[in-house]
Each structure stands twice: as C-alpha cells, then as structure tokens.
C-alpha cells in the first residue's frame, strides 16, 4: 500500500512511468468492470483507456482513502459516457471476429493454459450467458451487480463508488439478483450441475 502511495506521489509530480505502474496493477480490474457494465469489448477498451487518462488528469483530486474505489468511480462514469456516446448500440457477440468477419471460436483473453477444451467451452458459454443476462438489466442495476457479485466489493464500497445511499444499493442489488435468477435459469444446460434448477439437475 505504501508502494502505491509512493507511485501516486511520483505520478503527481509528473512521472508518467509511475502512473503506468499503477495502470498495470489495476487494468484487469478496470477492464473487467468496464466490460461487464458495457457488454462490448471495443467499447470497454475505449472506456478503460478514457478512465486511465481521466484518472491521470484528476489524480490531484484523490484525497486518500481507497484508491480502488476512487478509480472505479472514474471507470463507472467513463462507462456511462461511453454508453451514451454509442447510444446503446446492439450488443456485439462475445467472441471477437477475424478479418473475414467470422467469429473466433476461442477468444484469446479467455484462454487458460491448464484447462481442458470442454472446461474452457463451458466457461466461455457461462460467461456469455451471464453477460447476456446482465445486458437485460438497466445500467444502474447492472453496475451494482458487477461491483458486488462479480468484483466482490462490500455494500459500503459499492455505495461509495456509485455515490448512492446504502439503502439504494441494497434494494437495487436484490432486484437485480431476482431478474438475473430468472434469466440464468433459462440457460439450464449451460449452468454448472450444482447450480441448475432442481428439475433440470434431476433430469440430467
């Protein structure tokens, strides 16, 4: 943590290399938040880049406390801006496309070297199913689910990031979980055995 504070101080003094070390440390978390919120890889990349540029320029406004929360607040706003900019264009497929416009079967960023092909496929399909259900939610509900259920932040941190009261966070999360439950159950066979609805598990 002290190391992070030192990097922040150096970045504040104009050292871009120090800030880039911060970028490398947080870029996975930031991109994941952006991707799950927006649902489109290209837009998520743009939002992530914009968020880091904005963070560098606003670094002097960071007044201590959780740097992660401060950064995620910027990312959340960058996502909203990006979504407004793109005016909620239709969601692109999860798998990226090659030069001929054909979808790749296995996106590189989902690959895990120690994983069997069927395990990878199941994981990719689960990821796609979750993203599909997230996309059905309003953005304010989606953001809270991504923060608490996917990024595993506590309620207080999520409220701080979203700049919303704690009660609002609790209510939104409960409603979002209810919607997601209904949506995910429609993907019965794609879900892990232990998490399938009762009837589905018994049938298999």
């Amino acid at each position: 943590m002290n190391n992070l504070q030192e990097m922040i101080q150096e970045a504040l003094a104009g050292n871009l290399d120090s800030f880039n070390r911060i970028v490398l440390e947080f870029q996975d978390m930031v991109y994941y938040q952006a991707y799950r919120t927006i649902g489109e890889p290209d837009a998520a990349e743009d939002a992530t880049q914009e968020a880091f540029i904005s963070a560098y320029q606003k670094l002097h406004t960071y007044r201590g406390g959780s740097f992660k929360s401060w950064l995620l607040r910027i990312v959340t706003n960058a996502c909203y801006d990006e979504m407004r900019r793109r005016q909620r264009q239709p969601v692109a497929p999860l798998n990226p496309r090659d030069d001929d416009g054909e979808e790749f079967d296995s996106p590189g960023w989902l690959e895990d070297p120690g994983e069997k092909p069927e395990q990878f496929l199941q994981r990719a399909e689960l990821s796609e199913a979750i993203q599909h259900c997230l996309d059905q939610l309003e953005v304010k509900f989606r953001t809270v689910v991504v923060l608490i259920d996917l990024q595993e932040f506590d309620y207080a941190t999520a409220a701080e990031i979203m700049e919303s009261p704690l009660g609002t966070v609790k209510s939104r999360l409960a409603r979002a979980r209810l919607s997601l439950q209904d949506c995910l159950q429609s993907f019965g066979e794609l879900l892990p055995m232990d998490l399938r609805p009762d009837g589905e598990a018994k049938r298999i």
Binding site: L16, V23, P41, L110, A124, L150, Q181
Partner: protein, 239 residues
C-alpha cells in the same frame, strides 16, 4: 407462496452478511419455519455463486499511457487557457483605449468649464470696457465724476446686497402689481426658460469624473499587461 419485495431484499442483504444482528436473528427463525422463504434464499445463494464463478476476464492489452495521449489532452487545455488569457488581454486593451479617448477629450474641453467659461469672459470684457472708458474720460472733473459714478454703483450694489426692509416691501408690492397685470392679461408673463437658466446652479459633474477615470485606466492597464503575461507564460510552459 410468493415472496414479497421486502423479503427479497432482506434475504439478499442477509446473504451478504450486511443485515443487523437483531434482524438476522428474526429472519433465521422465519427461515426455519417458512419453507418457501428458505427455498428462495437457496435460489438467491445459487445466483450469487453462479455470478461469482463468472470467468475473470483479463485486460486484452496494456492500457499504459503514452506521453502523446496525455499531451494531447494537455494541448486542448493549453489552447483553452491561452485563448482565454489572450482574449481577456485584448478586451482590456480596447477598453483602456476607449477610456483614454474619453479622458483626453474631457481634459481638452471639459464640459463643466464650457458653460462656466462664457459668463466669466463676459464679465471680464465688461470690466475691461469700463476701465478703458474710465481711462478715456479720466482727466479733471470728468474723472471725479466717473469716480463718483463708480462709488454710486458700488453703493447701489451694497444696498442690493443688504436690502433694507422698506425696499423689500416696496419690491413685493411692485411684484404683486406685476402679477396682477399678468393675470389681467395686460403684460405677457416672462419666459420660464429664462427664469430657470438664471436659477440653474451649474451641471452636476459626470460619473466618469477624473479620479475614477484614472483608477479605471490603471486597472485596465494592469489587466491588459497581466493577462498578456499570463498568455505568454502559458505558451512558454507548453513549449
């Protein structure tokens, strides 16, 4: 049995361990007795577990910043700052020029002096004429007569200044008669403009009186130079 929205929120908050102890105890008692509530709780738990198992997607590339990315943003803010200072400096300069023009025109021909200058010069010319006529007619008894006339004039002025009660009464009586004559239409009334002109004490000084004008000029000059320097410094820093 359908679960109410309140119960949904309670179960969701309880699952995350964010429910207060007293509420959690009451909910646990209900979960033991109400099967539908317990089943719903299991569903919410499964949904959360499923979401937490979602693959953590890594960043597809590095998002490190190049100096050009930050420089590009700086360039935009630079031009904003530079143009703002430059515009402010130009505006202050133009205002200063306008003030200076007004200032010089008022110094060369001050408006309050224009009106005061005319009667003063008339008085002076009359005095000169009297002196000249005195010189011409001066000599022997004529000079004495002139001096006597001047004395009489001086006395009459003094009398006018210290008007005795009798003469005031006489004059009021005369004025009363004149008013009566005007009322009867025998004599036309005096022009009101003439009366006002004689009573006017002189025009009020302009709002842009000299001290304020000078202060304004100084402020504008300092502003023009200051903003100009600020624009130059911003440009120098950018280079």
């Amino acid at each position: 049995m359908k679960i109410s929205t309140e119960d949904w929120i309670l179960l969701s908050v309880y699952l995350d361990g964010e429910l207060s102890d007293s509420k959690a105890t009451r909910l646990e008692q209900r979960l033991e007795t109400e099967k539908s509530l317990a089943a719903t709780y299991e569903q919410i738990k499964n949904t959360r577990t499923l979401l937490r198992r979602a693959p953590k997607i890594r960043a597809p590339r590095d998002f490190t910043l190049a100096s050009q990315m930050v420089g590009q943003q700086h360039a935009e803010s630079f031009w904003r700052g530079f143009n703002l200072f430059r515009l402010a400096s130009a505006a202050a300069t133009l205002l200063l020029v306008a003030f200076l023009i007004y200032d010089f025109s008022s110094v060369l021909v001050p408006p309050q002096f224009k009106q005061l200058a005319a009667p003063a010069s008339q008085e002076e010319s009359l005095a000169v004429q009297v002196e000249e006529s005195q010189r011409e007619t001066r000599g022997g008894s004529e000079a004495d007569e002139q001096e006597e006339q001047l004395d009489v004039m001086t006395e009459s002025e003094e009398m006018y200044q210290e008007e005795p009660v009798e003469s005031v009464e006489t004059r009021e009586a005369e004025e009363g008669e004149a008013e009566k004559a005007i009322d009867q239409g025998k004599v036309p009334p005096p022009e009101s403009g003439k009366l006002l002109d004689s009573d006017r004490p002189g025009e009020q000084p302009s709002v842009f009186s000299l001290p304020w004008l000078r202060i304004g000029e100084v402020i504008l000059a300092v502003g023009a130079i200051g903003f100009g320097i600020a624009a130059w410094l911003v440009k120098r820093k950018h280079q």
